[in-house]
Amino acid sequence: MTLRRFILIAIPFSWLLLFFLVPFIVVLKLSLSDPAIAIPPYTPTLDPSSGWAGIKSFFGQLDFDNFTFLTLDPLYYTAYLSSLKIAVISTMLTLLVAFPMAYGMARAPEQWRPTLMMLVILPFWTSFLIRVYAWVGILGKEGFLNMVLMWIGIIDEPLTILNTNIAVYIGIVYTYLPFMILPIYSTLEKLDMSLIEAAEDLGSTRAQAFWLITAPLSLPGVIAGCFLVFIPALGEFVIPSLLGGSDTLMIGKVLWDEFFANRDWPLASAVAVVLLMILIVPIILFQRNQQKQMEADQ
């Protein structure tokens, strides 16, 4: 290996080691520590000056108390379960909205497609926070939606949507919609239309042709889109805190409060470690799906 090649590899490698891997080891260590009223607010701290005895006593003081606490206090396991529920339901809802759109885009006349594509990508470049905030003015008691519905005469009393789980679902579907549309669109666009024509010529109905050909062939895109929505939705913080209510429990928000409001760093770290363990399975499945698709493309 030449020196130049070594340096080329070493620069990004050491950056990621220092700022990505080492922080995780710190979180892992802290999740095994205990909170303390001190600076820093946890114990034990490693004191290299006291030598071998110090290291031994440091490891001796680490324990799994925080993780035991997470299983004992219902706040935490309900938060994990409700995050999972919210993430699953909103992924399904996003798919329901995104598929017809992606399908319509793929079937649109060719000269429209770049414009439609740009219309999907444009919100993606717009601030996430602002897009979530836009719904605060729409879903509130005196918001735009209630105003329109009452003006038309569909309802007499304003609906309570803001600060409920429904608002969280709407927020997640809205902000993550482009992530679902784009992978589905790219599989549908590649789909050979003559297959569907052949099926219809051979006597299958449109619905049959859809379920037998379009649906299975677009599956890789659907799977990729679902992971792209599910994974970030599970740890979401901004949407539940702006649109959700006091009964909306999501683990990202619990972690935030544990850290900023209660200043319990070790417990916040334990919450993070468990969240990561839950996410590892979908992340690995997602990567396998991507790899399979890439190999199929080549």
Binding site: L8, F19, P109, L119, G140, L255, Q287
Partner: protein, 269 residues
């Protein structure tokens, strides 16, 4: 070409209405004279005036801009290197670990990245500030740059690089005069992506920020926590406007380049 079906037209219309109506409502209310959302008190630009005379917002915007430029530049250098190493680096010790680390921040929840980086910074620095925000943003933004650059590297014909090497160019010369010009559009989109990611980030910045380094998203978040604020509508309108102009310009330039390339190929053929 078949005529588009009613089903497709309906789903596209409803879908795009869902995507765009919230932003249009947000923009419309930034020109409302009154503070209440429900009451239309006439057209007015007074919230823009209040926004522009609000020192705290201007300071935050300035901080955010500096952080985003520094992040985008640093992340583009590191991300391009990482993408290059992943595609052209061959085998080396720890390659799997490296590939995993270059990919993981893309799917990691912000709360975890923010918390873990803060805990690290606490052991490295005595106080948090713009430097720590830039370091944190660079770490996740470089992974996005690496994805964009490596996918471009994978799709281009390697024989051009080999030809340059055969003609006696050193590895560095080949990179400088062959590889870099070809991947340059990807490097540029990587820079823009990193810039936008840094501009947008609320969660990670909230963890690793310190006195004097309040970014715009942090400011916006604390202003809208308790409900609608017309100044924020005005600010959002400005930001949406800038992004829209940027995206349209970029796609027009892109379209022209593609058209030009097609013409060139026709001429050559």
């Amino acid at each position: 070409m078949k005529k588009p079906s009613w089903f497709n037209i309906t789903s596209l219309t409803l879908g795009f209405a869902f995507l765009y109506i919230p932003m249009l409502v947000l923009i419309a209310y930034s020109f409302n004279g009154g503070r209440l959302v429900t009451v239309w008190a006439g057209f007015s630009t007074k919230w823009y005036g209040e926004l522009l005379s609000n020192e705290a917002f201007l300071d935050a915007a300035w901080v955010t801009l500096r952080v985003a430029v520094a992040t985008a530049t640093l992340a583009t250098v590191l991300g391009t290197l990482a993408g290059y190493v992943l595609v052209r680096g061959g085998r080396f010790m720890g390659r799997t670990l490296f590939a995993g680390m270059a990919y993981a921040p893309l799917v990691m929840p912000d709360v975890i990245l923010g918390l873990s980086l803060l805990l690290l910074f606490k052991t490295m620095f005595s106080s948090m500030g713009m430097t720590t925000v830039i370091l944190a943003h660079t770490t996740f933004a470089m992974c996005y740059v690496s994805v964009v650059v490596s996918s471009r590297l994978m799709s281009f014909d390697r024989s051009i690089e080999e030809a340059a090497a055969d003609l006696g160019a050193t590895a560095f010369d080949t990179f400088k005069s062959v590889t870099l010009p070809i991947i340059f559009p990807a490097v540029l989109s990587g820079w823009l992506l990193a810039f936008t990611l840094s501009l947008d980030d609320l969660v990670i910045a909230s963890f690793v920020t310190g006195p004097g380094a309040t970014t715009l998203p942090i400011k916006i978040f604390s202003a809208v926590r308790l409900g609608v604020s017309p100044e924020i509508n005005a600010l959002s309108t400005i930001m949406i406007g800038i992004v829209t102009i940027g995206v349209i310009t970029f796609s027009v330039i892109n379209k022209r380049q593609i058209a030009q390339r097609l013409r060139d190929e026709k001429m050559a053929g």
